[in-house]
């Protein structure tokens, strides 16, 4: 039993009843309903409580501008707050709940807020909760969050998925009303690729199901024919349920397609929503216009509704929002509502028109027997949970009356929808004749058409749409020899609008329904000195709700203008920003969540590490083995064992993540000379060299080894973290600084995998592994030697370089041979005592050897700081040289690299600790430097570290304290030479 459903008419499917529930009550609607129309059909007027005062609220609009009827849709993990009931298509089993009420919608405790309403006015939060300050977090914020706020999020992972789409077109048409459809038709007729987006599930915009006639047929039939025509064209894409959310630079636009919001749950493998990025050569904006409420006392009672919405509910949904519908207006449009209501047998007790002489429309209405009162201001709406009466009064005060009614249709005029055109960066322009803002002359490749330009007559919309479509196509390079003519319809005469911004009263007259901002709030803000529209917006929260002030903007600006005694165009608008209406974060995220948030980079030997029981650590996107714990071992024990074993027998480590760059060209050597601080011209083929590069500002950028594989072929390695930056740096130097040098680069990081074998038994391990395929004898492959050799069907490279300070080799093979090579080496090594070691042991080994790494290359240090000043060639120019000589860069007081050994048996060293002489007076002023890297060293027998210290090695042997205020730790350390192991380098040359 749908108490307010009309017996006939509408665009609903009466053959398909749909069951749904709201606040636990079951109702029935029809396919084609929205949640709002179905609730109204069941006589439900009260649908929510307002944000601040918890006032009862009903449905105000029939579209995406709805400020009141926000509901929580669905249950469980799919629960979505703040959905607009006017945009929710009804489906069988739909469940919705009202928001912001406690304990129930009809009996709401917090509605007592409105009794204290005079305290809740503009700037309330700023003023009231200032004192005492500690109360803010502990008391006030919790109170506010409980009593204000809108819906509740589910707080569970969203079970649905969202995807991203990309579209390209010559002409994008925004809006599928009369102007948009004719624009699409005329543009598509030229052969241009056209995309048309429409936010509703149906096309036709404001066209009526009954009444309007286009090209001599009913408008609905014309819409159907037009859609059929467009659908048959191969280069036209029609997108319903798609809201244009943002208009960005260079005609890139973003639209949200609600693919499966209109069904209970998305079918398998279909997304709920799709976020489109549309790149359009030209754009036609035809989003239409939005009707404004009128501002008078208690104008927010449930049952007070926009006139156009009343008409839409009656015409499209065959729903009577009331049985006795009073009408207040300041323009002609509401008379169409009155005539329709009469036609459908609904009573119109009065049309109260602000204008003294409304002209022909008033005569027609009177001829129908409707009471028309002119020169009338609406004064106050009465009723508790639903409007019961309306009072109105002549502007001169000489006449006043009150009529009983259960619905009030209000029309304060139409505001062209200028959101999207304004997002391009232009401010809309005020037009007195329509009392509204229209789009400014475009600065992007766009134009507006239809009601969004202030053309409110159907004939004008059709004409403008037709012309805009042709113009857009032409500028995109498409023209038709026979462009045709705009569809025709009957012309209507009209009487101009008369502004009515605020009927004087003593109660609450709402401007912004969603944020509960009243006319008094705006007046008060002005009295307190807020003048700029942007300030008033933030002080009163006018237009800051999720509806972006679509129904409140112009009324609010007008009231501010009145308070300032200025014209609206002087006050101006606040800035329009995307999105046009809310977009779920899930849609922005798309598939980039969880495991697919970003790629995981695994080395070729990943499976080997898993088999060996590795624990992995993230290094950027890479997963690297951190350590290989044996049963019963904790992380510290595993690191100690791995480190110790490498120095005693041998270890194998995956170093594939190092950045690798192939460098080719006749001038490659000269090029390296200019990017590294040391010399490269004399490096022979078959040799590797350690290199250090600076940024142009003189600080150390990166380090690594580069090998010469052929006369014109070098192979560079970089640190894992800087691989991409170094390549960009080389490309800059080559393309921008020295284009005359013949040199080319190619990233080879993922083409070659790397395996380090280190330890006194390394040679024996590899001899067994390769079976003599390459001569590893010291004179055949000396320290820093490089050889290529055939291994199975692959070309392999072996580099005699050492990070650990032990006899060590690095073997590179093509990526796909990585697993086989690792297994070969590992199996050959086990009899020699070889173990796999991870990044932690790798770190301890290099700290023991005094090798700098990422922690020492922190972007603030110089080569000299690291003790590598001798590498800086004085025979050549290179990047960073001039700035490295500046006063501050060569200051002898700069902290320089030193080693540190923990004294005492308790505690540990930590990176980031500051070095001080007196731990009681530790401060930034007394700090002598800091510890950058630490490790628990088997070779030294305790914790050691590298760090930077004022005076550096001149303090060798001194005792200092390493203090770590965050951990509240202090340990005594001895300053040491940074090379703790084999300072003569005998092992790595052995």
């Amino acid at each position: 039993m749908q108490s307010h459903r009309l017996d006939s008419g509408g665009a609903i499917d009466r053959e398909k009843p749909v069951r749904f529930s709201f606040d636990g009550n079951s109702y029935t609607g029809y396919a084609g309903d929205t949640l709002a129309s179905a609730l109204l059909a069941n006589g439900v007027a009260l649908v929510g409580r307002s944000f601040k005062y918890h006032r009862p609220r009903g449905v105000l609009t029939a579209g995406s501008e709805e400020p009141n009827a926000l509901v929580e849709l669905r249950t469980g993990a799919r629960r979505e707050p703040n959905t607009r009931a006017t945009m929710v298509e009804l489906y069988d089993g739909l469940t919705a709940q009202s928001q912001n009420r406690f304990p129930s919608l009809v009996f709401d405790l917090a509605s007592a807020n409105q009794l204290f309403g005079r305290f809740f006015t503009a700037g309330f939060y700023y003023k009231t909760f200032m004192w005492p300050a500690p109360f803010w977090e502990s008391v006030y914020e919790k109170l506010i969050r409980r009593s204000a706020g809108l819906g509740r999020v589910s707080a569970k992972p969203d079970p649905d998925h969202y995807e991203h789409g990309h579209a390209h077109c010559d002409v994008l048409v925004v809006g599928g009303g009369p102007a948009g459809l004719t624009a699409a038709l005329s543009a598509a007729g030229t052969g241009a690729r056209v995309v048309l987006v429409e936010e509703m599930p149906f096309f036709g915009g404001s066209l009526h199901v009954e009444g309007d006639v286009i090209d001599s047929v009913p408008a609905v039939q014309w819409v159907r024919q037009t859609i059929d025509t467009l659908s048959a064209m191969p280069d036209v894409t029609l997108m319903r349920r798609t809201t244009l959310a943002g208009y960005y630079d260079h005609n890139v636009l973003v639209a949200l397609e609600r693919v499966n919001d209109h069904v209970a749950r998305p079918p398998a493998h279909e997304p709920r929503q799709r976020l489109w990025t549309i790149r359009a050569a030209e754009v036609v904006l035809a989003p239409g216009a939005q009707e404004r409420p009128m501002v008078f006392d208690d104008n927010d009672k449930p049952g007070v509704m926009l006139s156009s919405a009343v008409r839409r509910y009656v015409d499209r949904y065959a729903v009577a929002p009331g049985r006795r519908i009073a009408i207040c207006t300041n323009n002609d449009d509401a008379y169409r509502t009155a005539m329709l209501l009469r036609k459908r047998g609904l009573r119109v007790p009065v049309i109260a028109d602000v204008r003294l002489d409304p002209g022909a429309v008033a005569e027609q209405a009177r001829a129908e027997g409707i009471r028309v009162e002119t020169g009338m201001l609406p004064m106050k709406a009465y009723g508790r949970h639903r409007v019961a009466a309306l009072s109105f009064q002549r502007q001169d005060g000489l006449f006043a009356d009150k009529v009983e009614c259960d619905c009030v249709a209000v029309s304060g005029g139409y505001s062209p929808d200028v959101h999207l055109s304004s997002q391009t960066g232009v401010s809309p322009v005020w037009r007195d004749d329509i009392q509204g803002f229209v789009p400014a002359p475009p600065i992007r490749r766009e134009r507006s058409a239809g009601a969004s330009t202030g053309r409110f007559d159907l004939a004008g919309c059709l004409q403008e749409g037709h012309e805009a479509g042709l113009d857009a196509a032409k500028r995109a390079g498409f023209e038709s020899s026979d462009p045709g003519a705009a569809p025709v319809t009957t012309q209507e005469a009209s009487t101009p609008i008369q502004p009515m911004w605020h009927a004087p009263g003593t109660g609450k007259a709402f401007v912004d329904f969603q944020n509960d901002v009243t006319a008094q709030d705006i007046h008060q803000a002005r009295q307190e000195g807020y003048k700029s529209v942007e300030h008033v917006k933030r002080y009163t929260t006018l237009g800051m709700a999720t509806d972006q002030g679509k129904t409140s903007n112009v009324n609010g600006l007008a009231l501010l203008a009145m308070a300032r005694g200025q014209k609206i165009e002087v006050v101006g608008t606040t800035r329009f920003r995307p999105p046009y209406s809310p977009v779920a974060i899930g849609a922005f995220a798309g598939h980039e969540r969880g495991k697919t948030y970003q790629p995981v980079r695994r080395s070729a030997m990943h499976a080997c590490h898993q088999r060996l029981g590795a624990t992995f650590v993230e290094a950027g996107q890479w997963l690297r083995p951190q350590y290989y714990a044996r049963p019963g071992e904790d992380i510290m024990a595993a690191i100690w064992r791995e480190t110790d074993q490498v120095r005693k027998t041998a270890g194998v480590c995956d170093v594939s993540t190092l950045g690798k760059i192939d460098i080719y060209g006749a001038d490659a050597g000269e090029f390296l000379n200019r990017v590294y601080i040391n010399g490269w011209k004399l490096l022979p083929v078959g040799k590797a060299r350690y290199g250090l590069m600076l940024r142009e500002d003189g600080h150390v950028f990166d380090d690594g080894t580069t090998s010469r594989l052929a006369e014109d072929h070098y192979f560079m390695t970089t640190t894992t973290a800087n691989a991409a930056r170094v390549l960009a740096h080389l490309e800059h130097a080559s393309q921008v600084l020295w284009p005359e040098l013949v040199v080319h680069f190619c990233s080879a990081t993922e083409q070659w995998c790397g395996i380090a074998v280190a330890g006194p038994s390394a040679r024996k391990v590899l001899d067994d592994a390769f079976g003599g395929a390459v001569d590893l004898a010291n004179d055949a492959l000396p320290f820093m030697g490089v050889r290529e050799f055939g291994w199975r069907n692959a070309r392999a490279r072996i580099f005699r370089i050492s990070f650990s300070g032990e006899l060590a080799y690095e073997i590179n093979v093509p990526w796909r041979y990585g697993e086989a090579m690792w297994d070969t080496i590992y199996n050959a090594g086990v009899p020699h005592g070889l173990i796999p070691y991870g990044t932690e042991a790798l770190g301890v080994l290099r700290i023991e050897k005094g090798h700098v790494a990422g922690n020492e290359l922190d972007g603030r240090t110089t080569a000299a700081d690291m003790g590598l000043g001798r590498m800086m060639s004085d025979k050549k120019h290179y990047i960073g040289l001039p700035m490295s000589q500046r006063e501050g860069m060569v200051d002898p007081d700069r902290p320089t690299l030193a080693g540190f050994k923990m004294l005492g048996a308790e505690g540990r060293l930590r990176g980031g600790a500051h070095l001080v002489e007196d731990p009681e007076k530790a401060s930034t002023e007394t700090s002598l430097g800091w510890i950058s890297s630490v490790g628990d060293s088997p070779a030294v027998g305790t914790w050691i570290g590298l760090g930077y210290l004022k005076g550096g090695l001149s303090r060798k042997g001194e005792r200092l304290y390493a203090v770590h205020p965050l951990k509240n730790e202090t340990v005594e350390v001895e300053v040491c030479h940074p090379v703790f192991v084999d300072p003569e380098g005998e092992r790595l040359r052995g």
Binding site: Y248, D249, V252, G425, A728, E731, V736, H877, P882, M883
Partner: protein, 94 residues
């Protein structure tokens, strides 16, 4: 979202590029005084309007592209290779 007309790849989304700053500064000759290098490294104009910038096409051809872009309106007047001398539009051009 900017659309950048890479001279080698055609029009591509900004997401393929990495902004690399002011392209009007020129690296001094190696024997230039320290002051010249100081200016090269640290001193930048921050123009309101037309500006020549580096955009590195890291997600494409990996070339450094010179782009004349309006910092106020985000219009792009022209794109070229590092060796191109791109014209700055006149005041009324923006």
């Amino acid at each position: 979202m900017h659309r950048i007309d890479c001279p080698w790849c055609g029009v591509r989304d900004e997401a393929e590029f990495q902004y690399q700053g002011d392209a009007t500064v020129k690296r001094p000759a190696p024997d230039a005084p320290a002051e010249a290098f100081f200016r090269y490294v640290y001193i930048r104009e921050n123009p309101r309007g037309w500006h020549t910038e580096w955009w590195h096409h890291i997600g494409g051809c990996r070339q450094w592209i010179k782009v004349v872009r309006n910092t106020l309106t985000h219009e792009i007047a022209s794109c070229g290779s590092p060796q191109d001398d791109l014209e700055i539009p006149g005041e009324d051009g923006g």
